[in-house]
């Protein structure tokens, strides 16, 4: 043993002291600091599950609101906001249930909150009501015109763009910019108040597009003309051409 110790240079022996202190303290710290139930279910502390379950509940759910505010909830449930839960706007409400007078709830009254869902973004589904805040009654709060519990617009939208913003923007820069929506889509008045049950029509025949684009159509001379008999005869036009941006490929 002494021989082995003699072979090790002096500086290495000294170095071994802090290194072994480091390694030993690491091992010791590990045994102290790692909770005994770590790794029981996975790479986490098993008792963390119980601790999280024991935390105070902040959100209470819509059913609890209904106990007192049944009229408001009933109104909301009949409206377009039927899938928006009360606490989305009013915030966590568990404390309010415990002490309704002590913990009053509020809702955002300024412009700015509603656009989080309703500002125009191309990623939002078409048909979902979207506005451009700068041009949509810029000085008014949303709730000045819209009742959040029944948000159907106070006036029936005048333009299709109110809901179909992305299509309107695409069409506005296309060769079809002059063609009004209703030229191709027959739309009943009911569609504006009950859009899903009263859907607009779509052109179903080749002749419809042909009324402008066929060789002999009675339309402006600059329009692209095709021979309906030979041009993609087995398909309806919009199966190949996107009518809202017909020049796209």
């Amino acid at each position: 043993m002494k021989k082995i110790l003699d072979i090790i240079p002096e500086q290495v022996k000294r170095l071994l002291i802090p290194v072994s202190i480091l390694i030993l303290s690491f091992i010791l710290l590990r045994s102290f600091l790692i909770p005994p139930d770590f790794g029981k279910y996975g790479h986490y502390r098993a008792s963390a599950v119980d601790e999280i379950a024991a935390k105070d509940i902040k959100y209470i759910g819509q059913e609890a609101c209904e106990d007192c505010h049944d009229d408001v909830v009933a109104k909301k449930n009949m409206s377009y906001h039927r899938n928006v839960m009360c606490e989305v706007c009013h915030g966590p409400s568990a404390a309010h249930i415990e002490d309704p007078d002590g913990n009053k709830l509020s809702a955002p009254r300024e412009r700015g909150y509603c656009p989080l869902c309703h500002e125009y973004i191309p990623a939002r589904p078409t048909g979902f009501p979207q506005i451009v805040s700068e041009s949509h009654n810029p000085m008014k709060a949303c709730i000045a015109c819209h009742d959040a519990h029944d948000p159907a617009p106070p006036e029936v939208p005048k333009e299709c763009e109110a809901c179909h913003a992305e299509i309107a923007r695409t069409k506005a820069v296309s060769h079809h910019m002059e063609v009004s929506c209703t030229r191709c889509h027959e739309t009943s008045e009911e569609h504006k108040v009950d859009p899903r049950n009263f859907r607009p029509s779509k052109p179903m025949t080749r002749e419809f597009c042909g009324s402008c684009h066929a060789q002999k159509a009675d339309a402006s001379k600059e329009l692209t003309r095709i021979d309906l008999a030979t041009h993609g005869e087995r398909y309806v036009c919009w199966q190949c051409h996107y009518p809202h941006l017909p020049e796209s490929k």
Binding site: Q11, G91, P108, E110, G112, P115, L116, I121
Partner: protein, 397 residues
């Protein structure tokens, strides 16, 4: 809830095209730009130091210790941006206690500790041991005791012991080179392995990162060497500076070729992401990628180094050109990190839209904190140089 609205609403204005809601805001901000930049400087400075010990490049001897101390100063700061970004630095040690072997990010702690403890500190210790013993014998007061403590009160400066020190330094450097590659290659690996992001996902990423790291580390030591020599009113050794610039030049050629290869490969492959990527390059990243990274940070320095090699400029002009070129390289490599980290988050995974990043000034992830992390390594380096002077004349015969 209203503060959320106030925060998110203005960002909606910045969006172009089709972008998913969770991509509007960037989650990896300027601190995540700083982190690979600093780690790169560490790896680069160390690899430069290893040229002296392993490859016996005598001309670079005056920069050996400076490179090691620079690597150490920057390595100490390297994890700090991450801790600030994640929050709760007091919990950071837990990744060592319960290592998550399936997470590349979690394993970085071990790569870092290995590099700090087993490579840098050990190599510096063996290299300085003899000098520290002699300094502590001559010194007085607190400094003497600090020096004694660093040597762990060892006294043996016999020829046998010194021979062992020398051998130990060589062995550690040989282990250190792959370790330095691992340290920074790992950073590239993190980005390169994010397969959902076409701007990042590339097998070449670790190696591109590595070479840009070497470029930035060498350029930093070149700058520091000149500045420190000037501030000490000592003569700058031109063979050292020329050799350093030579290595920087060659490494830059490799780095540039690799980046060009990556770029050409992307264009030739023309995957579905190519349109949004070209929109990104020609739009939001044009200034930082084409003007700063490529032109100012790569082509102009390359041209400068090449013309110095071709024409015989006087020494004073060479010093100035090296300095300016190395400074441009630093700016270029910093924007390289910016373009990778920020650029990769500016476009939507739908490949149809772009968002914007606006850096805040204050806050835990703002400009001021970022500047602090860029200045802090130099302050640490100042103190390291005070305790462990890297100059030849400070050493004892």
């Amino acid at each position: 809830m209203e503060h959320l609205a106030a925060h998110l609403w203005p960002i909606l204005d910045q969006i172009q095209g089709y972008i998913y809601p969770n991509e509007v805001e960037l989650y990896w901000r300027v601190l995540i730009v700083i982190y690979p930049y600093i780690t790169g400087l560490v790896a680069g400075a160390f690899i430069l130091a290893s040229l002296v010990k392993v490859f016996n490049v005598k001309e670079l001897q005056p920069t050996y210790r400076l490179s090691m101390l620079t690597a150490l100063a920057f390595l100490i700061v390297a994890p700090m941006p991450l801790l600030f970004h994640l929050g709760h630095p007091e919990r950071a040690f837990e990744i060592f206690l319960t290592p998550n072997r399936s997470s590349a990010m979690a394993m970085f702690g071990y790569v870092y500790i290995w590099y700090l403890m087993a490579v840098l500190l050990l190599e510096i210790w063996f290299d300085y041991r003899k000098d520290l013993i002699l300094w502590s014998q001559q010194g007085k007061g607190l400094k003497k005791w600090i020096q004694k403590l660093i040597t762990l009160f060892s006294k043996d400066i016999s020829e046998k012991a010194l021979k062992f020190d020398k051998a130990a330094v060589k062995v550690i450097t040989i282990i250190g080179i792959p370790s330095a590659f691992l340290l920074h290659g790992y950073v590239g690996f993190i980005f390169g392995s994010i397969k959902a992001n076409p701007w990042w996902s590339s097998v070449l990423m670790p190696i591109v990162f590595l070479f840009s790291a070497m470029v930035s580390g060498m350029a930093l030591v070149l700058l520091l060497y000149q500045i420190l020599m000037l501030s000490r009113r000592k003569e700058i050794s031109m063979p050292t500076l020329d050799k350093l610039a030579d290595y920087l030049f060659y490494t830059m050629i490799v780095a540039f070729s690799l980046e060009a290869l990556d770029f050409i490969h992307r264009i030739y492959e023309s995957e579905e992401s190519i349109k949004i990527v070209s929109q990104l390059i020609s739009g939001k990243l044009f200034v930082s990628l084409v003007v700063i990274q490529l032109l100012l940070g790569m082509l102009i320095p390359l041209f400068t180094f090449a013309s110095i090699k071709l024409f015989r400029f006087p020494a004073e002009l060479r010093k100035l050109l090296y300095f300016v070129a190395a400074l441009l390289v630093q700016v270029g490599i910093f924007t390289t990190r910016w373009n990778v980290v920020i650029g990769g988050q500016l476009f939507s995974k739908s490949f149809r839209g772009l968002t914007t990043y606006k850096m805040s000034i204050g806050g835990t992830e703002g400009l001021l904190v970022a500047l602090m992390f860029l200045i802090l390594p130099f302050i640490i380096l100042y103190f390291l140089i005070k305790i462990l002077p890297p100059w030849k004349e400070s050493g004892t015969p």
